[in-house]
């Protein structure tokens, strides 16, 4: 089996109130990835379209969008795993290419969220959890992650101040990322000022500042076989490991709420496939839909021992010049989280980092990058390892 490479990446700016339809939104990210790859539509053998349903009225978007992108009559697939849809799409694309079925596959992820109110959006998101047994109690994503935060704090003594440091780091890089929806500075003092928006309680112990914002956006990643990737020109970034896992949807089915089992399991698979360990990773994108999610990711990925994630952020080791830079594009906390587009955006960031094209956010000479993308409340988890050779 030959290698599979990423030959093009693109994303729109993540914004509130994208002034257009899902077709136009998806086209914007697609166009950037096609220009990045320097190829024409005739080179694309198949498309994988990724989003979470029920945010817009369109059912079965793969057919509609592949036509709008000018990619008929090629086959198209629709993939959905909530917030991890487009990294699941990448795994499907990897499989399609590695199997020899197709040479070049395009993965497009998108979401328009701002046509719903925030409360409607929370209701949609929560229906990605257990609608029969949990939703009747009024659950929502921030509340589920708050349950994990409370558990992490009780088990290890992690504090709200530690979580605030993760948001502060995100804002450091969000200010540099022209594609991010939230570009302002965030300071620890904002969390200790009860009048400040960042400090407003959402679902204890999480505050507004611990939560990412809904956004509209699309991302696009183009994957090719080794032969095709080399023939098409620019230096590819190789997919070295793809891990994926699932877990019980109901909190009652979880052994322990101080971590996400899908993160651990997907990482185990991806490290084994790539033949590396956590210490080999030079730069990482992790799923920080909430600050606690990044804290758990440090530990689930093996960047820190269980309960020791706080030491990484307290000592600044996950900043750009630290031991393991994490989310140095602002993460979901600053970029925003257009559900179906998020995984592709994380992959784009790591591809740019490995190519040395990340501008002000560039980490010093990385060779191996990791993408950790979680769907729902740890219902799905994907870990993807990318490298230069």
């Amino acid at each position: 089996m030959g290698k599979v490479g990423i030959i093009g990446v693109g994303q729109t700016s993540f914004v509130r109130q994208y002034p257009g339809s899902i077709r136009e939104l998806v086209f914007d990210g697609f166009k950037e990835a096609m220009a990045d790859a320097g190829i024409s539509s005739g080179e694309i053998d198949a498309t994988v379209i990724c989003s979470a349903p029920e945010y817009d009225k369109q059912r079965s978007p793969a057919g509609v969008l592949s036509e709008y992108l000018g990619l008929n009559p090629q086959p198209t697939f629709y993939v959905e795993t909530l917030c991890s849809s487009s990294s699941t799409g990448l795994k499907l694309a990897y499989s399609l290419v590695a199997s020899g079925l197709h040479d070049v596959v395009l993965v497009s992820g998108f979401q328009i969220m701002s046509q719903l109110t925030s409360e409607e959006s929370q209701e949609r998101m929560a229906r990605g959890a257990d609608i029969q047994w949990e939703s009747p109690f009024g659950t929502m994503m921030p509340a589920y992650y708050a349950l994990h935060a409370q558990s992490h704090m009780a088990s290890y003594g992690t504090s709200p101040e530690d979580l605030a440091l993760i948001r502060v780091k995100a804002s450091t890089y969000g200010q540099m990322n022209e594609k991010a929806v939230y570009r302002k500075a965030v300071t620890p003092e904002m969390f200790s000022d009860p009048e400040n928006k960042m400090a407003q309680p959402v679902s204890s112990p999480l505050r507004t500042g611990d939560c990412c914002a809904n956004a509209d956006g699309s991302s696009c990643v183009i994957v090719a076989s080794e032969e095709k990737a080399r023939a098409l020109g620019r230096k590819p970034v190789w997919i070295k490991g793809v891990g994926a896992a699932s877990a019980p949807v109901n909190m009652a089915g979880r052994k322990d709420l101080s971590h996400l089992s899908v993160g651990r399991e997907a990482a185990r698979q991806a490290y084994a496939m790539a033949g590396i360990s956590a210490s080999d990773v030079d730069v990482a994108e992790v799923h920080d839909c909430f600050t606690i999610a990044e804290m758990m990711a440090y530990e689930d990925l093996g960047f820190a021992d269980p309960g020791k994630g706080r030491d990484l952020i307290r000592s600044g080791q996950t900043y750009k010049d630290g031991k393991i830079p994490v989310n140095v594009d602002g993460g979901l906390l600053s970029k925003g989280h257009p559900i179906g587009a998020t995984g592709g955006s994380q992959i784009r960031t790591i591809v740019l980092q490995l190519r040395g094209e990340a501008g002000a956010m560039q980490v010093d000479n990385p060779n191996i990058g990791l993408v950790h993308n979680i769907g729902g409340v740890g219902l799905y988890g994907n870990v993807t390892i990318l490298g230069l050779d």
């Binding site: 109110t117 409360e119 409607e120 929370q122 209701e123 929560a126 229906r127 257990d130 609608i131 029969q132 047994w133 949990e134 939703s135 009747p136 109690f137 009024g138 659950t139 929502m140 921030p142 509340a143 708050a146 349950l147 994990h148 935060a149 409370q150 558990s151 009780a154 407003q200 309680p201 959402v202 679902s203 204890s204 112990p205 999480l206 109901n250 909190m251 009652a252 089915g253 979880r254 709420l257």
Partner: protein, 143 residues
């Protein structure tokens, strides 16, 4: 010939129910009678909460009802100050997870328990309850 009537008792569960028809609808009647019930496989003995109509461990048993009784330990909790559509009138409210050893139960904590009174590991007991609108539910109280 008339259309067979669907058993939609489950629509009576919780502030807003998102499911109506399920093979464990007796859960709602038990709750109405003041009993919180799970199921247990009569073949391999696995406990299920929330209750299930099938056993995914042995694939051969048929789960039977058991009552959630006694004390469990509070695993985690959170008080919501913001709610999804349909739940604003309940704010603020606290959700939590309670561990009974063989199984865990997710639900609301009694509004009479202030957040200051809560800590992970405290003993809790479940009690059948009704929402303001008369829907059946259950809440956890300090044991």
């Amino acid at each position: 010939m008339g259309k067979k009537e669907l058993d939609t008792r489950f629509a009576r569960f919780g502030t807003v129910s998102f499911a109506g028809v399920t093979q464990v609808n007796d859960f709602v009647d038990y709750l109405e009678d003041g009993r919180l019930m799970g199921t247990k496989c009569n073949h391999c003995g696995l406990y299920f909460f929330p209750p299930r109509a099938h056993c995914c461990q042995c694939l051969s048993g048929s789960p039977e009802w058991f009552e959630v009784t006694g004390e469990g330990r509070l695993v985690t909790y959170s008080t919501l100050h913001y709610a999804p559509a349909g739940f604003q009138a309940d704010l603020p409210y606290t959700i939590g997870l309670v561990d009974y050893g063989q199984y865990k139960v997710f639900g609301r904590l009694s509004p009479s328990l202030g957040e200051d009174a809560l800590h992970v590991g405290m003993a809790m007991k479940a009690k059948a309850d009704k929402t303001a609108a008369g829907q059946v539910t259950y809440v956890f109280e300090a044991a």
